[in-house]
Amino acid sequence: EDKTFDEFLEAVATLRDSDTVRTTAHTSNAATETWLTQ
């Protein structure tokens, strides 16, 4: 469990802002862009 959590935190640490155009997603649209590094 500790290893899984460490991996999760490492993944969270890679989050960045990189949208060149900001968009807003309406509630009912499950945006399918990848959140994270098969």
């Binding site: 959590f5 155009v21 900001r22 807003t24 309406h26 009912s28 499950a30 990848t34």
Partner: protein
Amino acid sequence: MPVTRTAPTDLESLYAPMSSTGLDTAVSVILKLRGETCDIDCLYCFEKRKESPGGARISTAQVHRLGSIFSGRPLSVELHGGEPLTAGRERIAEILDALAAQPNVIRVSLQTNGLQLDDAWLDLFERHYPELEIGISLDGDALGNSWRVGYDGRPTYPRVVEALELLGRRERRVGVICAVTPYVLGRASEVMEHLASFPAVTTVSLVPCFDAAVTRSTTVAGSRTPTSRALQRRAIGPTGPAWAVTPRQYADFVLEAAHHWVADGLFRRAKLEPVVSVIRRLRGLQTRSCHFSELKCDHVLTLYPDDRLGSCDELPWPQAGLASLGGVHTEADVASAQGGSRLLQQARSLVTKCTTCDYRDTCGAGCPAVRLRFAAAGDEDAYCDHRIRLIDGVAALLTQPDLPPGASCSRLRWRPVRPNNMHHVSAFLARWDDPTVPRSPARLQVSANGNINTVGLPGVHEADDLDPHHPQWYEGIEPGIRPVVDVLTSGWNTVTYDSCQGHAYADLPGDEPRFLSVGILPRDRAEYARTAVRLCRAASRAESSLPGACSLVLGRSELTCRTTGRIYPTLDLHLMPAAGTTSAEYFEDLAQAVHVLTVALAEAASVPPSSPCACGGEQ
């Protein structure tokens, strides 16, 4: 709304009017391709409750007109319903071609119940708009999908599963919208495992059925009542519909799902919303979800086949209507209609309350459409409470993942300190525990107001990072906070990275007073958990003895290393003015409050490492 001690921000940072953004910001347009027309009859459908005429289809001429009205603005388009695929293959192909031909359309997505999806549809998408993003509505497993039925009352679930399996074979990525109803409550692990088992699913969005205000079934068009509407009537009781959940139930379900998403490693396969949006906001990053950003109802438009152009489809109609598409010629016309909309004025008015909320930078003010419903029912606090619960719960998950959902400390609140950074955190931690490391002389200057920093000025300025082995350690700590720092470093053996005794700045008109605080930097996860429990225990002991003008606030925050960029979780302790007290009263009581706090912290030093929180976890 919680008691606030936060300086107000401007409304536009929480709710941006369209006129305040430009070419770098898209407008989201929901195309209701056939209005409310749908090939199934889910009991909770919000679109059919509007009881507007369906049947007609949006034309390519309307799509082109929309593109020309917003010619200077990026557009993100959602094909929506009802069920958009009931518009037929020929019309969908024409619409996709029209969207592909418009240079300002940067993204097109489709939200479908999935029943019609087959190879022919997927081939059509690939021919006419290969980048089309697909969203499927599926409320978890078979039991969770009990509200999703055909007009004959039969479940749609088996056919949606077939569609997801087809999408997997075709290597398409899809997002799933999972409505949170009583049929999934308490079963987050099963629901998450089931949804993540489909190779096609790379996003799961948990959306709440906050429908307690629904009191009657949807009107039937025609003389014969379909079985589904009979089921719907039976499901609506005197206290609302059986599919509704409370904000508290929704927040708890999301946190339970988040726990499994992390612990079971599902994060490797799929994104979970709104959890990822909360994480991004906790980290100060932008998110696309309008519930967490300032791009709210003024950046979301809905177009119906009969030319009605309005705001977000979550808002009540006809009040959300802005104009007829044929009656507007420019973006400025739309912005003008938004400015004159009584409903949007009410939405902005609700968000105004958030400008002084402690959670506003993370929460982003939520969904005005839902808040309007809660406000009408006189229960807006329930909405705000669930947002706070979500934020505190996800913040706890990022630091104490081994705690089961609902067991994290109710006293520890997300209280980001910004800016909060240090030159080299790991070097500082290593130095703290090693008396043999050479230490450079510290630059200590004292301001006329008692601030100790490198420049000797009031306000937030750089201060050298000292440790107890440094010869100038005591000299570098403001005297009013020294007893607290002493207990935390000597009694608890914790690392303090920042401290402030509080400064009234009474002689500096225009300067906001600074209140007492200490920042603790746990060395590892186990020390974080142990320190959190001790802080809760100390707060429990101190609360009844603190003088009236001071209140103790325990915060979770983060410290960023400027050298490596790594983010370290911290636990911060603040003595703040109690609700309704003035700054002068606070500073009059502060010395007594520090004494009470110091005694409580010293007593908590003997709390065994495995002890539970004094609060017994979330209440």
